[in-house]
């Protein structure tokens, strides 16, 4: 993660955003500044910072020549984009119908209890963020919990502790499928 704190000169500085304008500009350029690439650009920014910092969105607006409202509208429309800093690991507990009837609400509660946060919050040490999602597409294996791209199946409250431990140790990065 880039730690440089370059600020856009004409923009209000945001103390929490350690955003490198050049990184954002590079991401925008990689996508050829095409109109349709906005979501891809935002995804890349989120991959870089874990969330969408305000300065980054302003930079995107400037680099693409689009207005900030459009970009902000897209960024707030999709649940997978976050405008708040998120923890190192993102724990997504599926609360889709199938997982729900198999006891996912209890899993959520257990996560909340063990991490000491509520759904949508981040632990104070910035290690974990907890969220619920509405179906991860593996209903037969539910309840499903996804942590940083890793899927845990048939999760019950008893397994929560080990999932958190594994995530803390760092889950091996998922290999990108070679097409």
């Amino acid at each position: 993660m880039t730690q440089s704190t370059t600020q856009l000169m004409n923009l209000p500085s945001c103390p929490n955003d350690a955003v490198d304008v050049h990184v954002i500009q590079r991401i925008v350029e990689e996508h050829n500044q095409t109109r349709g690439a906005l979501i891809a650009v935002l995804e890349d920014i989120q991959a870089e910072y874990g969330y969408l910092p305000e300065t980054a969105l302003r930079t995107v607006a400037e680099a693409t020549g689009r207005s900030l409202v459009d970009i902000y509208g897209v960024a707030t429309f999709y649940r997978s984009f976050s405008l708040q800093p998120r923890g190192k690991s993102l724990i997504s507990v599926c609360l889709g119908t199938a997982c729900h009837v198999r006891g996912a609400p209890m899993v959520v509660e257990e996560f909340e209890r063990q991490l000491g946060i509520r759904v949508g919050e981040t632990t104070s040490d910035m290690a974990f963020s907890l969220e619920t999602v509405n179906c991860l597409g593996a209903c037969a294996l539910g309840p499903i919990v996804a942590v940083d791209g890793h899927y845990f199946s048939k999760v019950d409250p008893a397994k929560v502790k080990s999932i958190i431990r594994k995530a803390r140790l760092g889950l091996s990065p998922v290999e990108e499928s070679v097409a």
């Binding site: 969105l57 900030l68 409202v69 970009i71 902000y72």
Partner: protein
């Protein structure tokens, strides 16, 4: 030129015209809320519904966004249309019971009772202000944010936008923020949608589900019938 029939009357309009424009040309009134001359059609409020097609295939469309098609058969005031329109108005009224424009529309459509919970929302998301800001003021300072239940209109990050020139155009076109007369200051309030200019004749409390601005006054009607049957 395109020929279509509206309420049985043949009319020809230019290509690209909407049903609403064609109906206006003929003089058939269609109530609108999110539509505004000079702004692009948006189709948010659905108040302008009309029925097109015939028989079981007939369907409701929003006339402000539906382009006139050759041979189209449009009904602007069928029973189904009127029923739908009233329901839409009732729902709009429930979300914004304080908006004078919506109240007057409701009143004009014979809605006499509010059946739904009043939400006192300050926005019906009709998008007039958003389009005004973008299309007439060339600013794009405000826009839609979020989705579903959380959808709202405002500036990015809720801070004053640097492209906003404080022109006030957004407020000027807003149908929801025009306040109506209230019960709280009885001397100043006027009952009956400001139409009959008579002072309010009821206390609010006994009739909290009613909306006294509607003319004829619901409360008076009820008091009269109650007196008649001697409750």
């Amino acid at each position: 030129m395109i020929e279509l029939t509206i309420n049985g009357v043949l009319v020809s309009v230019e290509k690209g015209a909407t049903i609403l424009e064609a109906a206006e040309f003929l003089g058939f009134p269609i109530p609108t809320l999110c539509h505004m001359e000079g702004l692009s059609p948006y189709g948010a409020c659905r108040l302008c519904v009309v029925e097109i097609g015939e028989g079981p295939k007939a369907k409701l469309v929003s006339s402000c966004t539906y382009p006139a098609e050759a041979g189209l058969k449009v009904r602007t005031a069928s029973t189904r249309v009127l029923r739908t329109r009233r329901m839409i108005l009732e729902l709009l009224l429930a979300s914004c019971p304080q908006s004078k424009i919506i109240q007057d529309l409701a009143s004009a459509h014979g809605i006499r009772r509010q059946r739904f919970k009043q939400e006192y929302e300050d926005c019906i998301l009709c998008g007039r202000c958003v389009r005004m800001c973008e299309e007439q003021m060339m600013a794009k300072a405000i826009g839609f944010r979020g989705r579903g239940e959380k959808r709202s209109i405002g500036t990015p990050f809720d801070v004053q936008s640097d492209v906003c020139r404080l022109c006030g155009g957004c407020m000027y076109v807003c149908p929801a923020c025009q306040l109506r007369c209230t019960y709280t200051e009885p001397e100043k309030a006027i009952c009956g949608g400001c139409a009959n200019l008579s002072p309010p004749c009821i206390e609010k409390d006994p009739y909290d589900d009613m909306l006294c601005y509607m003319s004829p006054c619901v409360a008076c009607e009820i008091t009269k019938t109650e007196m008649k049957i001697g409750v």
